[in-house]
């Protein structure tokens, strides 16, 4: 009887010892997992506060549905001309789905183009372009590993602000990833608008080499390259 009680007690001590041992190994495994998450590009940026995370988590898989409901709301507001009320909805969508590009791109376009135009001659209309750019930069900080956000930013600098150096910088950022051929051409266009014909010509040359299989791209590129070459010859910079 006593033996059985003793062996039972011993078994429990052994079990408790095993628990402590295993518990002690958990931080080591966790450290190794953390390392793998960093090297394997699995780290999630802490983009939201814990409170926001809980809401996001509770919505969980249904956030896609929540986002669609908000898109419907945006559509309604749009048709009623309530353009400024659209912004909080777009913000909420990017908060729920920060890795989806469309809401960032659309939000920035809405601010920099629609709200800018709607503001008319108001002295603060330029602030909407700044807001659009800030919005895109926030989106870029969460989606750096793809061409799209880089291109969107480059486009606003190119088309809206006519800051061609910034535009070229972001277009080149986009070119570091798999990207469509028009981005290479946009760099050349930006050089032309900037008045730097030599760089434009060099970029057209790069464009020809970059997408040899793309007939449409080749046709446009060769035409522009010829025009750039003519300008250089005219200016005496090329023989």
């Amino acid at each position: 009887m006593m033996d059985s009680s003793l062996s039972r007690r011993l078994r429990r001590y052994l079990l408790a010892g095993a628990i402590l041992l295993l518990l002690g190994s958990i931080p080591l495994i966790q450290q190794s997992i953390n390392y793998s998450r960093v090297t394997g590009d699995l780290v999630e940026e802490l983009v939201v506060m814990p409170g926001e995370f809980v809401t996001n988590f509770i919505i969980g898989g249904f956030r896609g549905i929540a986002v669609d409901i908000m898109w419907i709301e945006i559509d309604e507001l749009w048709h009623h001309g309530k353009w400024f009320e659209i912004i909080p909805f777009l913000r909420a969508i990017t908060w729920l789905q920060p890795h989806f590009i469309e809401p960032w791109a659309l939000g920035a376009w809405h601010m920099a183009y629609n709200l800018y135009a709607y503001a008319g001659d108001a002295p603060d209309r330029d602030k909407y372009i700044t807001q659009g750019i800030r919005f895109l930069k926030e989106g870029l900080s969460k989606n750096r590993n793809g061409y799209r956000m880089w291109f969107e930013l480059g486009w606003i600098y190119y088309h809206k602000l006519k800051h061609y150096d910034d535009a070229i910088r972001y277009f080149r950022g986009a070119m570091r990833f798999e990207h469509p051929s028009y981005i290479d051409r946009m760099v050349a266009h930006a050089y032309r608008k900037k008045g730097d014909i030599e760089s434009e010509y060099r970029q057209w040359q790069r464009c020809v080499a970059a997408f040899p299989e793309d007939d449409y791209h080749q046709n446009i590129t060769l035409r522009h390259m010829e025009a750039a070459r003519d300008k250089l010859i005219e200016a005496g910079l090329l023989k």
Binding site: I26, Q30, S32, R63, I65, P103
Partner: protein, 254 residues
Amino acid sequence: MRNIFLIAGITYKEALRNKLLNILLLFAILAIASTRFFTIFAPSEELKIIQDTSLGIIRFIGMLITVFITGALLPREIERRTITTILSKPVSRAQFLFGKFCGALYAIFINLIIMGVLLNIIIYLKGRMFNVEIVKALVLMGMEFVVLCAITLCVSTIASEIFNIIFGILIFITGHLTNYLQHLADRFDSIAMKGLLSFLYAILPNFENFNVQNAVVLGTEVSLRYVGKAMTYGAVYTAVMLMLGYLFFAERQV
């Protein structure tokens, strides 16, 4: 071993008869099947939205199924007094507890497989492709449910059904926030606070280890090495919880 299989089989059949779990599964199936209708506003990102929404639904419903199955296992046996009949036979408490755990896992995995197969079919129909990364995400999710099942079972050896269910849901949410503790610890100057937060970080389950949803949706490859490490973490945590549960259960009067 035979005793464990018998108890696991009975537990599984009981779980299948549970109407609430069937409703949850049906809801999940309908929700996953309808994800295609929720992609109208982002036509260029349809596949991403289907994967993101479906994986989220599977995690959420899977968590509820796990907690509802496991939380009720022991309290119901004790309430109905069937546990005394079983334990009066040559069945040890360890066998009983492990049999219950295996039976619950069996039911949880069947549900997970049904939802996972459906998701893969939908992805195939949409993109004419089979995404291996989705399978990895589902495997890790399966391990997440194993850990949650072990924690809930451990608590259910000393608590009531309602408490187990609430605790299970809360520990699941907390487990997904564990990484914040580490970031908080880095921001405190007080050594006591740093120590407390680091201790909590080490002791609480870190369910984010099993979460590769965003990586999968964005097309990042999850290495098998990482999957292996996360599985090891899950196995160790599960072993700790089961042993702790046994220690509590061995002391309990039934």
